[in-house]
Symmetry: none
Subunit: 229 residues, 4 copies
DNA sequence: GATGAATGAGGGTTCATTCAT
DNA sequence: AATGAATGAACCCTCATTCAT
């Protein structure tokens, strides 16, 4: 992991934008700018004000544009950065080789909780980016990359699933589809009802309540779809 | 149903805003303003321009503000109007007294298709309103009302469901929860992948493909959750 | 001359820009905006500040852009306006049917003096527009129109000239070319040495000194090129 | 001519600016900065960007301001430098002791062609400096110096002219004035119609066409003003 | 000397909102 | 009721200039 940071730069730069100046900045200031930008963009691309960002990050207006050129490129960078964080801190950590897909779901949920605790704004920001109404803004392929990474992940988990666990008389492929939809629905419901921005202990508690609820659902589904032992 | 129109006014006015002037407008002009506003707000609250709205509706700038006071109240009205349309054209038409919840789901899907065909922008607009990043804008409780109407609807459907149809060894309440999540997830997935704005025959065909897919899922679930006949 | 004003609108609008809103403005405010703009653009397109223009014209920033859309279109309008003024107040007034081209030159010089006295900024502004370094700005063909109007004028004057006045042994066509160049050079020299912005009596005096000098040159040239009577 | 370079420094420094640091720079880098600046200032003082200059010259932003202090002083230096080049490469080379002023004009035209071929940007830059709309910028007296050098030159040429060549009945002083104006007008017309920036063979050809045209005019004028041989 | 990150006033432009008519 | 000219604060962005290294 020596070149951890460098490899991140490469990935973020890969597809076009030139964020070199910014990426070689000292970490503290870079962090301030990233946090300020993510926070401001939570309210939508159009409504976000670069004035607010520079005020929050305590830098001059000119500097922000020295690094990013335009508001749009700043947003583009933030999306790439968030996607890259998701990959390193979530996607890459998942063990896809488990026989019980409910175990897989449980594990990913724990990792997702850890991610949200560690980088709360990253997750909220990406959620916002997905629904960003200003479609011209989503140009950069980073979001699509994340979606396909996620799709691959799901496919791999399902590929490693032990289908013999499923109850006789149930088509495992159909069942898996349903299971996928169920947890997608669950995640959406949770995102919709969660007031973002909670941090610290409160967030942790919220999350653990959610995980308890999830555990029950998983158990129920095991009962529905799996053979009785 | 003589007072159809008046009752609508009452509901829309109920919670605060004073849209009396607008609601007593002649229907043709009112329709022009509503359509223009919905269309423009599809691109997001902030990005929507009152200039575009008045141009599309062929009214003067002053008149729009004469009716609604501020852009925010205009948006608020549009949300209420769309919610009210959903209620009248969708929620109220659902027959909750069916024994098989998969039949209920099927029926609601057909009604939803009809709604989308009849008022395409209403549905797209509401979808946008849900994810509107500008949380200060969602103040009006209309969206919450719609959510609770929807929750009540689901509760009623489930209350009328014949639990004896469920397979032994499955907790029907847990199963119902899962079923709800599954179709929520399915709906979300479809919304995400549907390019809005399609109208006419194409839209109809898209919808029918979707319904066919849904039918398969329903059948699979019946196999999973219900007793073999 | 009843439709004097309307025909002006048509000409200025003809080639593209939509300046209708501005042209139907009451004359007093329109004049303020035109004067302020011309004055500010004297220092060059790039250096001119719309802030200064609106301050000088005593209107709001928004109103200027309500009328003209962009700074570039404002400049374009001013060029058209100045060209149109030149046409109406100078080109159209010249009597091209004179036998002695030195009389023609004298007459045009008198008319030019009157123009400069009446619209001092118009002339200075156009001079600046000719040399405007920012070539992308000169897009509108108005300046070219003026040049070709001027060229036509010169051609007509020369066409009506009585060539039999020229001394034997001089090619009248070559002589006419030289005469044209001489007065072009003279005009340029005068423009270069004149501090613009002078108004009132001083300007008048400057002009009359210039005319006296011109008269001498004309007499000399008559002696050079014409037969002795 | 050993102190060629030093004397140049003195002249450029004479009237105020302190360009010592820059003038003692190694020639290669100095050349890069001069060329980059001239090129950029061709588009006008205001539009020229110091960013472009340092990029083209491959030096840092700080260094440019280390040498020149402000953009305005940089421009001032460039004017002085261009004027000095004109003097050394044009004014000083002219032989004023010729009897036929048309020969003098011909000779200066040849020299001017050589200058333009050798330092194309110097000539274009000075032309631009003359018409620079931003009058505050022309403060430095260098341009005036050039003008007076030119005036002296013309005076000397005319002083050496053999007035007995002129036709009887023509006042030679008046004729000379006219001749001066004619070629001033001709030069201006040519500058206006020449698209600058042409280099190499094309420029050479353009020039030679121009010289041919000039020769004809000279012959005509000889016929007009001189005695028949 | 040499660098380029950093500054911030100023630039052109937008747009919800007001108001005289 | 109906108009649309008028407003001005806020927006994104530029760029000559400074300064710590």
């Amino acid at each position: 992991m020596i070149d951890n940071e460098n490899s991140e730069c490469e990935r973020i730069e890969a597809e076009g934008g030139d964020y070199h100046k910014f990426l070689t900045l000292d970490e503290e200031k870079r962090g301030r700018i990233i946090n300020a930008s993510m926070k401001e963009f939570l309210s939508g691309y159009k409504k976000a004000s670069t004035d607010n960002i520079v005020r929050e990050a305590a830098i001059s207006k000119g500097l922000l544009f020295h690094y990013f050129g335009t508001k749009e490129k700043l947003y583009d960078f933030m999306v790439r950065y968030a996607v890259e964080t998701m990959r390193k801190e979530y996607i890459d950590l998942i063990n896809v080789r488990q026989r019980d897909i409910f175990d897989s779901i449980w594990q990913t949920s724990l990792l997702k909780r850890d991610l949200c605790m560690k980088f709360p704004s990253v997750f909220d920001f990406l959620t916002g980016a997905y629904v960003e109404a200003d479609h011209e803004i989503n140009a950069g392929g980073a979001l699509k990359d994340l979606q396909s990474m996620h799709a691959n992940l799901v496919a791999e988990i399902f590929a490693h699933a032990d289908l013999s666990l499923f109850r006789d008389g149930i088509d495992p492929k159909a069942a898996i589809k349903i299971i996928g939809l169920t947890f997608a629905g669950y995640a959406n419901a949770k995102i919709a009802e969660t007031p973002s921005g909670k941090t610290g202990e409160t967030a942790r508690e919220n999350y653990d309540i959610y995980l308890e609820e999830l555990k029950e659902i998983l158990d129920t589904m095991r009962a529905c779809f799996y053979k009785q032992q």
